[in-house]
Symmetry: C2
Subunit: 226 residues, 2 copies
DNA sequence: CCATCTGAAACTGTATACTGTTTGGGGGTG
DNA sequence: CACCCCCAAACAGTATACAGTTTCAGATGG
């Protein structure tokens, strides 16, 4: 945020990570150190090290032919939802207790922006506003280890989140959930925030299950067969 | 485990990580790529990359003068205990449901070995047996993401764990906790495993708080002053 | 005897070069 | 038309070199 005056490796690392989080890297893009190095006028080494760090953190997946977004099996998504159910209600509760007026104002604006996309249907704007909302309440979580853990696994499922947000029903559910959470944060009501967050995560899991079943109905059959 | 036939970077990475987990790296050791490279007869680059990956995963901390064990502030340890309370009861419950006879046998042996060190006072053996116990039940957790998350933060607090184990009272408490957990795993009793694990973690937190207060009583005063 | 300055040593960061290994495609064959 | 083989390009891994930065010991002055 405040210090982009670092060395090449860190600058490139943060740059690529930001692009992943903004959904600018597509599933079939291959990130190769030599190409990125040539673009930016540096050597392979800092780019290689940035890419390998992103891979070790789960943002990318190293193949024998460049780096790509991780291939997210539905099972792995379900596993992350278990983690979310266990951690995020508590995280939301502690954020509700310690968030300040400025954070609440930012979240209020973000929820307004997200709600506006229900009409405009601007998925990119919806995604941006949701990121602001999430990063703001997460920033209010005092427990750094907890915050980092949540950020880590959320980064890994970014692409799935982005896909879910394109669904109209999920869109409505997410905005409703954000409104409920915002209300709890405004009242500094830890218990309400915890309950709202648990519902929010479980609704997200339902949306994912529904979309996954629609997208590949054969997966159900293979489960029945197996 | 099965494939040490990798490239230099991965081999060195796994080697150093194993040494950290065995407690062979001391707090005042400084790991420098050039020195390790010379020892092993390779160039700096694979060693540097291994060390940086270990640092990004929290096993090490990069300074301007080599890599060292992370400097664990008590506050950070307390944060990890919050994570443990949230995740490990659930993890133990799911391990109790899915662990097989072989895993139970290994854990039984590990608990016996750990109990024997109550008499022999062999801290290194106690540490080894505890690692076997933990890794075995963690291996029975079906949720890979959950397992990886737990492994990640446990690695970061290794040095503190090692210090706690030197305390006679904590030694007894840990062995008792392991016996209780083993009993729950043997009966495949998920609820008991969850409750035992919650108690185990909270007792660990109490032990840490006690030892920390004994080691630096001035920290309490500074808190009162601030 | 203590503070401060200074330069060499010790490291980190980056560039460049070279060596394996994998891959995808062109050309040949059935 | 399908299959296989081989090779050149693409890419990962490693080595070496060098530049920039930090640290510390010893020299210098008060």
């Amino acid at each position: 945020m405040s210090a982009p005056r670092q060395n090449h490796r860190i600058r490139i690392y943060e740059d690529i990570r930001a692009r992943i989080q903004r959904g600018e890297i597509r599933r079939d893009d291959r990130l190769v150190d030599t190409a990125i190095a040539a673009e930016r006028g540096v050597s392979r080494m800092p780019v290689r090290e940035a890419l390998m760090q992103l891979a070790s953190e789960g943002y990318l997946e190293g193949t024998s032919r460049g780096f790509t977004l991780p291939n997210m099996e539905p099972e792995r998504i379900r596993e992350v939802f278990v983690l979310r159910r266990l951690l995020e209600p508590y995280a939301a509760a502690s954020a509700a207790q310690s968030c300040d007026a400025q954070a609440i104002a930012v979240m209020g604006q973000a929820v307004e922006d997200a709600a506006a996309t229900l009409v405009s249907d601007d998925v990119t704007e919806f995604y941006r506003a949701s990121e602001v909302f999430r990063n703001t309440w997460l920033g209010a979580v005092p427990n750094t280890e907890l915050r980092q853990t949540i950020l880590r696994y959320m980064a890994q499922v970014q692409s799935v989140r982005f896909a879910t947000m394109r669904d109209p029903l999920a869109h409505q559910i997410i905005v409703d959930g954000q409104r409920g959470l915002l209300e709890a944060f405004r009242r500094h009501d830890a218990l309400a925030a915890s309950e709202r967050m648990l519902r929010f995560v479980m609704q997200g899991e339902e949306s994912f299950a529904r979309l996954n079943a629609e997208a590949r109905p054969e997966s159900l059959q293979s489960k029945r067969a197996g």
